[in-house]
């Protein structure tokens, strides 16, 4: 598989706490949860932003802190820090997008009284001018709080430099995503999304360096994989795809993901931050350009129109919707999404997932996916 750089990125994506165990020796590590914390600010403060994406270990440590019908991702994140990797972090910046994340913030803060903790109160509506003003204001507040914690001023130049670095990262990821879509035989879905995932954990400069090598390699190699027969194009909808072996199942079925609205993919890699003007407003402008995110209110039809647009624009055959178990936001959206897709005659497969998916659940998902591909898409 590919280059050494690619190998390294994939390893980090699959074992971030093991492979990056020495991170804290170089910088203070600030953990965040999905979604929309402006990492660029944390980086510009000389700190290391690190996205917490749960653990696949069974829930035991966090069971007494959150009820069992709370979002699987929230419980899993809490399990990870309370049970396993609490010492990995110097502090946390949390965004609140729903009831669960709001309460998780409080429970978390109480659990780690000795760590730096800041809330990032992202607007939960993006339909009106006040949302832009508020996002920018929260960026200004976070900037000040980070300055206090880091003990240094964050200049506008620091921020613009950070924006450039993150823009470069997003641009490289977009290029690689395009190549993967165009030449699916070159790179599996799993590998591509692992490369994206590695960026949530790694030093951004190092990620850019390795990513540039991967992009160069992919550009050079793609001509050798002209035969694209046998793949079907699909759109993936949702927030996050975990556990990542869901991508493996899609790969086994020879699905080629050609579009998504995931927080851990397109919502993260599309759209750059302007590197002139007021930095907080530039971050707000990027925020408002992002694809629809289920908990954030805007045009209520975007729960399906974004997916429909992607489906048509990309010439996809189907949509897979990844549903995090007990994600209340998705629970309210899904019946209307399914109804609309039925009306449009678009085949949609819902994949309900838990971070702690067992082998049995995984086998069931595999069977469902295969059955769907055979009976609905006519693939054998």
């Amino acid at each position: 598989m590919g280059t050494e750089a690619l190998q390294r990125l994939v390893e980090i994506a699959n074992d971030p706490y093991g492979r990056l165990a020495d991170l804290r020796k170089r910088k203070k590590v600030i953990g965040s949860t999905l979604a929309d914390v402006p990492e660029e600010l944390i980086y510009a403060a000389g700190l290391h932003p690190f996205l917490i994406l749960g653990t696949n270990e069974p829930i035991s440590h966090s069971a007494a802190l959150l009820p069992d019908n709370s979002c699987s991702l929230a419980r899993s994140n809490l399990e990870l820090v309370v049970g396993y990797e609490g010492d990995f972090f110097d502090g946390f910046v949390f965004s609140q997008v729903c009831d669960t994340t709001q309460h998780l913030s409080d429970i978390w803060k109480r659990r780690f009284p000795d760590r730096y903790f800041e809330n990032f109160l992202a607007p939960r509506q993006v339909d009106r001018p006040s949302a832009r003003d508020w996002y920018a204001q929260e960026c200004r507040r976070l900037r000040k709080e980070l300055e206090k914690y880091a003990g240094r001023e964050i200049s506008d130049e620091d921020l613009w430099q950070s924006f450039r670095l993150y823009n470069e990262n997003r641009s490289l990821l977009r290029t690689l995503y395009n190549i993967k879509q165009e030449v699916p035989a070159l790179m599996t879905n799993r590998t591509f999304f692992d490369v994206v995932k590695a960026t949530f954990f790694m030093d951004r400069e190092e990620h850019n360096r390795l990513l540039q090598e991967v992009v160069d390699w992919a550009q050079g190699e793609k001509g050798r994989y002209e035969d694209q027969d046998g793949y079907f194009k699909l759109i993936v909808g949702g927030i996050v795809v975990e556990p990542p072996n869901i991508y493996d199942l899609i790969d086994e079925a020879r699905g080629n993901i050609v579009g998504d609205n995931l927080c851990t993919a397109s919502r993260y890699i599309y759209h750059d931050v302007d590197v002139d003007g007021d930095p907080a407003e530039a971050l707000a402008d990027r925020h408002l350009r992002k694809p629809h995110f289920s908990p954030i209110n805007e045009d209520v039809k975007r729960i399906y129109t974004d997916l429909l647009d992607l489906y048509r624009e990309k010439g996809a055959e189907t949509i897979f919707y990844v549903h995090i178990k007990y994600c209340e936001s998705q629970d309210y959206d899904l019946p209307d999404i399914k109804k609309r897709m039925r009306e449009e005659g678009i085949p949609l497969l819902e994949l309900e997932t838990e971070y702690q998916t067992t082998h049995i659940a995984h086998a069931q998902m595999k069977t469902r996916l295969q059955a769907f591909c055979e009976s609905v898409l006519g693939r054998t």
Binding site: Q96, H103, R110, R141, D333, K338
Partner: protein, 410 residues
Amino acid sequence: MSEKVQEKKSAKELNKILTGEYLQDARTAHEHGKYIAYTTAVSPVELFVAHDIIPIYPENHAVACLTKRMGAKLSQVMENRGYTSHLCAYARSDLGYRVTGESPMGGIPDPDFNLACNAQCFTLTKWFEVLSRAYNVPIFVFDTPQWIRDPEARKEIVKYCVQQLKELVAALEELTGKKYDYDRLREVIKYSRDASLLYRKFLDMAAYKPSPISIFDALIHMAITVYLRGTPQCVDYYQTLCDEVQAKADQGIGVVENEQFRLYWENLPIWFKFRDHFNLLKSYGANILSSLYIHAWSYEFDCDKDPLETLAENYVSVFSNVTLEERAEMALDLFQRYSMNGSLMFVNRSCKAVSFAVYTLKDVITEKTGYPALIFESDMGDPRFYSETQIKTRIEAYLETLQGRAAQVA
């Protein structure tokens, strides 16, 4: 008019009359050139009242369904349509009503506009989004960031909320084609202030020993301030209620004979077990006096301030939108002011907004008060998730523990 002096109506009678008139107005709104807005129980409803828009609360209608034990049936209708059984029981029964038309009170009119204030919860936003798609009407989310304990951040949060309320006013002007009348809004807020102060006075009568009220009285009487605040009738209602309860307090009449245990309740009630719980507790000389939930409508509007600012400050700081630390302090304040000596902590599987903090709140309250607390899980409206024997046994065992402790102290 007859020579006979008209007898003053009791609060109970007024409750019935006011509710009937309110529903009648709502059902004939369009005939009188008025609009219907769905809104959340905690929301700046004064903006509607001052603009001839009748607020309707799907939550209140849902409570009526749940109290009549329709929760499971309506919920199953929605489960068959792909909604899961762990969503808010209000939302499930309301959406079930939309499909079946079944209602214990003849239904509620359809919306022209939806307002969701997320200080109350996030669920309402998503539930109202479903309704906005179904009725093809606009939704306005009044986004209230968590009321974190940072004075500078709070100033900015209020500014953001005021900016949104201006956006809401513009949306209402567009809906009705009428210019907004801020003088009328000031008048409406005064009524809200007066009603809220009286409502709080009523709730605070739980401090008397024995208490002339229980939480069950408060749950019945809070309905008027939820849907009629901002009107003079609402002020009169709470004045009548306060006079009645004060008279009982003055005579030393308590709702529970030989009151021994004065309990705090965490969360919303289990609507369909209302009376059973009251009777069970009563048999042990126990009374639930209060909860943060019923205090959610104890606003303190400052009529000297800009009307939008005082609305923003009050609605953003409701108990469900403060930090867990501050919420625990608010609960402890009630605990101390009402001399309580026990807590029933309900983890309500269908209200995540209120329930996720309950485990931690229980730790704080037992630690700070020294009184044990009972924690149990169930659902506020769906009997399928209520284990009769188990919960009854646990409540009895808890009350016996309190009795044992009381005997030791004696």
